[in-house]
């Protein structure tokens, strides 16, 4: 276990950014989001969670992965996706880090998505425990420990006030720790006690939250029964069909592929798409999900049933962004409660 004093943080970031691209939670116009850091930026590591999830780092909103050209009437494809630069993300929360391990199950399963793989292997994730979990947090329902970052984490960190404790969890994490040797300090008994006290306090705060123990067991035994449940119609009535929930969600990963260009020259990109949109499944001959009820059902069935069946985990980390951002206060917690018979 190492530590970095808060007064040294600026120097830490400076040193990291000499070797890597560094993503930090930066505050702009009152919103905090992970963005590439430059000296003088307004860093905010106290905001519990960023407004948007950090999935854009490994799964960009738009990624051009193919260029096509026509040379002498011959078509020519060139693969241009992926990311070669090595980077570090500092201050990601355990739920968001865990979401990376969920996205891995999609993109790193055969056939492996090479562009994603490249981004993923080039990144080092420093995950900061949540000293002040909020009422919209329900990560513990999904087995994620806010006091002890593990999943998707290369280095676990804790803010104990004067300093930030630093514990490498992976080979990548150890390597980075080595590079930062002259800034990181050794810890003593004193810090270990502080850490235990912090973790204890986090656990106590979590226990006070309203949604810590959502009962997920009660749902999702029978896919068809769930699918045909009457609750979808009722729940989806207020749904506006926008894509906020899917775009702020750290685990939503559906994408579209589109071409841009003219006369057989241009590029192909993939971009975030939302199952909430009416054109998501629209084909030339029809649409299997014609109403918002069907699209709404798809989103939650995917997260709570289909993904579990296929990958053994839920496609939700309980970050609570959809809870805060939904314009009509509809969210996965309500769905879970309703499916469980309230």
């Amino acid at each position: 276990m190492k530590q970095v004093y808060k007064r040294d943080l600026e120097r830490l970031w400076q040193t990291i950014s000499e070797h890597f691209e560094l993503y930090l939670p930066l505050e702009q116009d009152g919103k905090v989001n992970f963005m590439p850091w430059k000296q003088g930026e307004n860093v905010n590591i106290d905001r519990l969670k960023t407004d948007l999830s950090p999935k854009n780092i490994i799964f960009p909103p738009t990624e051009t992965y193919l260029k096509f050209r026509t040379v002498n009437k011959r078509l020519c494809f060139e693969s241009v996706g992926g990311k070669n630069d090595k980077y570090v993300v500092f201050g990601m929360r355990p739920c968001d880090a865990a979401s990376y391990s969920i996205l891995d199950k999609v993109f790193l399963q055969e056939p492996i998505d090479r562009f994603y793989e490249e981004r993923r292997t080039n990144g080092i994730i420093i995950s900061l425990a949540c000293s002040e979990p909020e009422e919209t947090c329900f990560c513990s329902s999904f087995g994620i420990a806010a006091d002890n970052p593990v999943l998707g984490t290369d280095i676990a960190a804790w803010d104990i006030g004067e300093s930030i404790l630093w514990q490498p969890k992976s080979e990548k994490g150890k390597k980075l720790t080595g590079i930062l040797d002259n800034i990181l300090q050794d810890t003593s008994e004193h810090e270990i006690i502080a850490l235990e006290r912090l973790q204890q306090s986090i656990r106590e705060k979590l226990a006070q939250l309203p949604w810590v123990d959502l009962d997920l067991e009660i749902i999702s035994n029978n896919m068809k029964e769930m699918f045909e449940s009457k609750v979808w119609e009722e729940l989806s009535k207020s749904c506006l069909g926008c894509g906020v929930c899917t775009f702020v969600c750290p685990t939503c990963h559906c994408f579209d592929i589109q071409d841009f260009g003219a006369e057989r020259n241009g590029e192909r990109f993939r971009c975030w798409d939302s199952c909430m949109y009416s054109d998501f499944t629209r084909m030339a001959h029809g649409n299997p999900r014609k109403t918002q009820t069907e699209r709404f059902r798809q989103r939650f069935m995917h997260k709570l049933v289909y993904f579990l069946n296929n990958n053994g985990v839920y496609a939700c980390v309980g970050c609570g962004r959809c809870v805060e951002k939904c314009p009509v206060n509809m969210n996965i917690v309500k769905v879970i409660k309703k499916l469980g018979g309230d």
């Binding site: 026509t70 040379v71 841009f260 260009g261």
Partner: protein
């Protein structure tokens, strides 16, 4: 050789060749353009005319799309108010694009880049003058990438 060059390369050249898209109403302004042609009046080859049934057929989408896909200036030319072939079309054009032109200016687009002109079928002269003036003012502004799609490659 159909290889297309990056537009950046074009704009970095000394010669800036603006592209102006002119939406011309079929009944007045397009005829005005015709007259300018048959009267052998010079108007620049940089003007690409798109014929529309009435100036009020032009949607703001068209204007923005033109800017995205390479236009340096967009002009909508219609009959003089009161002379619309469909009686009232250009009165609506006038209201719509008065607001739209203000909105474009509000988001930082130069007035010179988007214009409306009333040009009758008899005003071949005015057509040529307007187009020449438009080209002049765009030339003065110089190359700009406002509203342009960065991925767009202009054909050589």
């Amino acid at each position: 050789m159909s290889l297309k060059l990056e537009e950046k390369a074009i704009s970095s050249k000394q010669q800036f060749e603006p592209l102006i898209v002119a939406f011309c109403c079929n009944w007045c302004s397009y005829a005005g353009a015709d007259l300018a042609g048959t009267s052998r009046l010079n108007y620049p080859a940089n003007i690409k005319i798109i014929k529309v049934p009435c100036s009020c057929r032009v949607s703001p989408n068209f204007v923005l799309r033109a800017f995205q896909r390479g236009a340096d200036g967009v002009i909508i030319a219609g009959c003089h108010p009161g002379d619309c072939h469909y009686s009232t079309g250009n009165y609506f054009t006038r209201r719509r694009f008065t607001l739209f032109a203000n909105l474009l200016e509000y988001v930082g687009i130069e007035r010179e880049k988007f214009k409306i002109e009333w040009i009758s079928a008899a005003e071949g002269n005015k057509f040529a003058t307007v187009m020449n003036e438009m080209l002049d003012s765009i030339n003065k502004l110089g190359p700009s990438r406002k509203l342009r799609d960065g991925r767009w490659i202009r054909q050589q």
